[in-house]
Symmetry: C2
Subunit: 341 residues, 2 copies
DNA sequence: TATTTTTGAACAATCGATTACATCATTGTT
DNA sequence: AACAATGATGTAATCGATTGTTCAAAAATA
């Protein structure tokens, strides 16, 4: 059952030569004669020799593997980013190791510890909702491993980051609601220690201010980015008798909760309440009415993250100046927010 | 910048002892004195020593890592199974390495090659849609690494497998459609070299036969499991003037395509055409009308897969008899298929 | 033919851990 | 006082690859 793995020593023995010769032959080293190379290769394929990654990476000190740490893979945005990373990684000869924090700080820390034990040569990460302090990421960096953040990035750290224009798109989508006749726009926000939610909230507020609309506290639902909290936030607005004619949700799932509540209570969308989301999850196109949202160009974000990280990995030793890239997002206008159309 | 990693040799040098003592101290070996253990541990934490996974796994011959190879992580079912696997893996001290085939045979082969190079101690897999022959999985097994398949499993291979009762649930859901007055039920199938689609189709056919309903070729849409192909299949049925009053889709995305076509053409669901899906993707609850589907208990499937694999890993050497587990699925009845109700 | 150059392959160190075995000092036994 | 038992470390081999150095034989040159 447990058949031994073939090693270069096995090959060497059968060919009456040494492991070093076998190793060089397999690498097409110039110092090895043609017939020897032939013989080695032939035997290697015959015995289905596979180079032992563990030995190789120990010897070389790197393993051509990049780690990805995301809150959840079961979100279209993250899955898409991963896809983008994989295309670039594969093209550059890197493998990808995916880990999830499930939005939990403690799990994030555990995953990070595993990763830096020599499993990866660099990391692409997006922090969990619970992550306020980043000491664990700092000790990851202290080991000298390159790190690139995307989307949810800690702003206290001096690392490469890639984000989208959260502020600008939130501003723009809020103005879109205003243009559609909304003046009392509720904000379904997320934890503001996370850059994206802070920036989206800021864009929303500034758009209101610039349009001479009041920013009201009762319209600010602090934690409403899941389906459940979105539903609840909507329910509370209604039951508290708060007057509002739109919801700007900082995430699609919060918007979904709002829509489901509206459906249940027969609140007309967008007639009574216009709704917009954020992330352009696929269900937004399916739901009735289809949901206006912001596409974050996940594939591109993934590609750029991977390129940055690989560059850092391959220039290791030379001091690398962290870069920050901000991608332009795209607002996808759908019926949930358009009153005249 | 590139700060050297601390090794046990560094610790030994600073403590005027040897690496073996340090190693033993860190493992709480009984032969090491208390004060020495204390000193080692203190220095280790002070210098933030991390054991080198590459060296460790080379030495030990295993790395406490299990690989997962799935078509896509961006499917609720697969993401859920992965979650289930992770819970068990974490509890047993294993890490998880996730890879995607993106439904492509060639990518599946590449991922598999990477995995067997000593990166994992065992693999949990579900094959891609393109996978007809399994020689690549056989050569994975030939290296002696344990392998467990779930859901989409090759029936030619003698390995542990975990599936759900596709046949039974398809039979039952077809009878449900019949009970709702449907007699001309279209089958939106998938490639029948994949066990699950073959079994679902068989359950459908047998239910029709047992209820004395004809199995008509024109109602069998061979490849309709994506949103696009589902849409197209529906369009073709209609444009070919085929009489049908229900769709049993072997996958939720095929059902989604059908529903979107129906929505576009104002075909009443379930009045004119009743529709059922398979996999219980979350959008099924959101879409209007909500979609009847089959829940596959992904978490449980993941848990059991992980348990089986870990057991095989830890009993390596002893010859292991492959097991097959069939889980009971659950039909989630929703309005898309209920005419009286 | 004697000497130098080239060629092809062997030798041995290394990566960072673990672990069987050897060694030494101490304590206990008779 | 002689000897065994114990406890605490050190020595060295090992996992499977890579690679700088060495070395012998063959080829080229004088």
């Amino acid at each position: 059952m447990t058949e031994k793995r073939i090693t270069i020593y096995d090959l060497a023995r059968q060919l009456n030569t040494t492991a070093s010769t076998v190793s060089r032959a397999l690498q097409d080293h110039p110092g090895i004669s043609k017939p020897m190379k032939e013989a080695v290769r032939k035997l290697a394929t015959k015995l289905n020799y596979q180079t032992n990654y563990r030995a190789l990476s120990l010897r070389k000190g790197f393993g051509n593997t990049i780690g990805i740490l995301v809150p959840q893979v079961n979100r279209n945005f993250f899955a898409t980013v991963i896809h983008g990373i994989e295309t670039i990684a594969a093209a550059s000869g890197y493998h990808v190791l995916i880990c999830q924090s499930f939005e939990s700080l403690s799990k994030e820390k555990i995953q990070l510890k595993n990763l830096l034990n020599g499993r990866v040569d660099g990391l692409i990460a997006s922090v969990s909702l619970e992550t306020k302090s980043c000491t664990h990421f700092e000790s990851f960096m202290a080991t000298g491993l390159p790190l690139v953040f995307f989307d949810r990035v800690p702003d206290t750290m001096d690392v490469s980051k890639i984000t989208i224009d959260d502020y600008a798109s939130a501003y723009k989508i809020t103005e879109h609601l205003i243009a559609n006749g909304c003046s009392r726009i509720a904000l379904f926000g997320g934890p503001e220690h996370i850059n994206i939610y802070r920036n989206r909230a800021a864009g929303y507020r500034d758009a209101l201010n610039d349009n001479k609309l009041p920013v009201s506290g009762e319209l600010h639902c602090v934690n409403a980015i899941t389906r459940e909290t979105g539903y609840q936030a909507m329910a509370e607005l209604v039951s508290n008798g708060v007057a509002f004619d739109a919801v700007f949700a900082a995430g699609d799932y919060g918007a979904l909760g709002a829509m489901l509540y509206a459906r249940e209570k027969r609140i007309d969308i967008p007639g009574a309440v216009a709704i917009t989301g954020y992330a352009n999850e696929p269900f937004g196109e399916i739901i009735d009415p289809p949901l206006t949202s912001v596409d974050q160009h996940g594939i591109e974000m993934g590609r750029q993250s991977a390129r940055m990280l690989i560059e850092e990995i391959e220039h290791k030793g030379e001091s690398y100046i962290p870069r920050e890239i901000v991608l332009r997002s795209e607002i996808i206008y759908r019926p949930s927010s358009q009153r005249n159309g």
